[in-house]
Symmetry: C2
Subunit: 298 residues, 2 copies
């Protein structure tokens, strides 16, 4: 596989195993599609699927899964703790290998158009695929949830990008878009003073004037007797892990506090670690093609 795209569709079904199985079947035993993860949450009544693979094969599987979910999930009866607006709540596409953001945006639009036509489903483009500024943020689109969509879609401002301008009676509304991979990256501080973690988080997060593509909060690790700057890095190609790490170290120094380790939660693209090694070793002229495993995957 030369090109690889990741897709993380969120379905509003986390309880009925029969229905869950029907949806997941779209991703199983398919050439050039790999089901990496499937998290079902009964309280949220929601299922989050992670697949990767060759763009055409992934597109085909995702469209099929959406068609099935729209058929079998009835949002009029849906209850769960997680906010939701449709049977297929949100479908982000993430470029992984030999694809850039523009490729992922194009693919997300293709899928949006296809499922809107096939399923008579209103679809909003969000994040990097958004056609309008106010549609970039998923939570803005989702405000009002399934029950409020009848009213919301009446306004010109909330006209869907594809499909009808009324919500689907049973499947509601879907958001489809492209985004960079999220990296959950946490840095631990050798102090139990939560205030310091909060101050550093405020310094480094973009929303309060810090690093671009960095979200950060300070949290208490009571069991460990330390505090943590917990981050979501939303575009590691713009702000690397090493940049937030170095910045936190600098700020911690000012407080006379030591950084005592870090962790990555969940998956991370190889390139994010490569950038880190490149930075610290001052590597010049290095290319992903030199990584043995990347060559094997060609």
């Amino acid at each position: 596989m030369k090109k690889i795209i990741e897709c993380v569709p969120n379905f509003s079904e986390g309880r009925n195993n029969h229905k869950i199985e029907k949806i997941i079947r779209a991703f199983k035993n398919k050439d050039n599609v790999k089901l990496l993860d499937c998290q079902q949450d009964k309280d949220h009544n929601r299922m989050v699927v992670t697949i990767v693979g060759e763009p055409k094969a992934v597109t085909f599987s995702v469209v099929e899964s959406i068609r099935i979910a729209v058929d079998i999930i009835d949002m009029r009866k849906h209850q769960g703790q997680h906010p939701r607006m449709g049977a297929v709540d949100v479908v982000p596409f993430i470029p992984v290998k030999e694809m850039n953001m523009q490729d992922a945006i194009k693919l997300s639009k293709d899928v949006a158009k296809k499922v809107a036509d096939k399923c008579d489903l209103p679809v909003f483009l969000y994040e990097a695929s958004a056609s309008r500024d106010h549609c970039q943020n998923l939570s803005e689109i989702r405000k009002g949830q399934f029950e409020g969509m009848d009213e919301k879609l009446k306004s010109q401002k909330w006209r869907p990008d594809f499909g009808p301008s009324q919500k689907h009676p049973t499947a509601g509304v879907t958001a489809i878009g492209a985004r960079m991979p999220l990296i959950a990256f946490n840095v631990n501080l050798d102090t139990d003073n939560l205030n310091i973690a909060k101050k550093i988080a405020k310094k480094i997060r973009f929303s309060s004037g810090g690093l671009p593509f960095c979200k950060a909060i300070g949290i208490d690790l009571k069991d460990k007797g330390m505090v943590q700057v917990s981050m979501n890095m939303t575009d590691y190609t713009q702000t690397g892990l090493f940049e937030s790490f170095n910045q936190i170290k600098k700020e911690a120094d000012k407080h006379g506090v030591r950084v005592c380790g870090s962790e990555i939660v969940g998956l991370v693209p190889m390139a994010a670690l490569m950038n880190t090694a490149e930075h610290y070793l001052g590597l010049q002229g290095f290319s992903m093609e030199q990584i043995l495993e990347a060559r094997i995957m060609e």
Copy 2:
């Protein structure tokens, strides 16, 4: 592919395209075997092939290629600048994924036994597979080259591990073994004083009391007006890139010289860069399974 092994067989044919093609065919269009690289050198009259893949498939291809090379290469007529003792001079196996050194050693011995039996070929086990200390080093085994093997093999000390104790009349002798991946890692110094690079190289290489699994020399980069500590890291799991880098930086400091960059020449296993990122970020509890691309390869 769960398990991946790399193999870099060296054949004593770098001129005759017809023969080269016959040998390479053993690695082409084979399921679960990927031909990564093939370097033919007319002066050396030698061909170095790099393949990776699933252990059984790689074993099969390598045995086939050796059988063909033994058939068609006549060492009595072989001339070239590179020292050599056989039609298939040396065959190292390198563990890449979900295999450790013990697995690679076992595989190398299986292949050695197979080709010794099939081709009536004397085979020495070398490097990590060596059964005797004096056979670890390839150049010790090869001393005397093809022409000297008749005499050499008469002594008890140079009894082959497998196969007859006379050289093959046309194909000579072969060394087969397992080793860790080599990483060619160079660090540049912001000075044109070659003496400093040589001094630092001497400090950090194992043979003069420095870091284990680190070979180093000082070289002049005349075009760039700087000097370089040029290294072969022979087991990055024992001595990481970051360790030699940090050590060179420390030594350079003593000379008042700045490290101004580094380079990796050729391929590098993902884990060597991962270790580097882990070290500098103080990453805790990180596993290869968290690398997105590694998950895709499962």
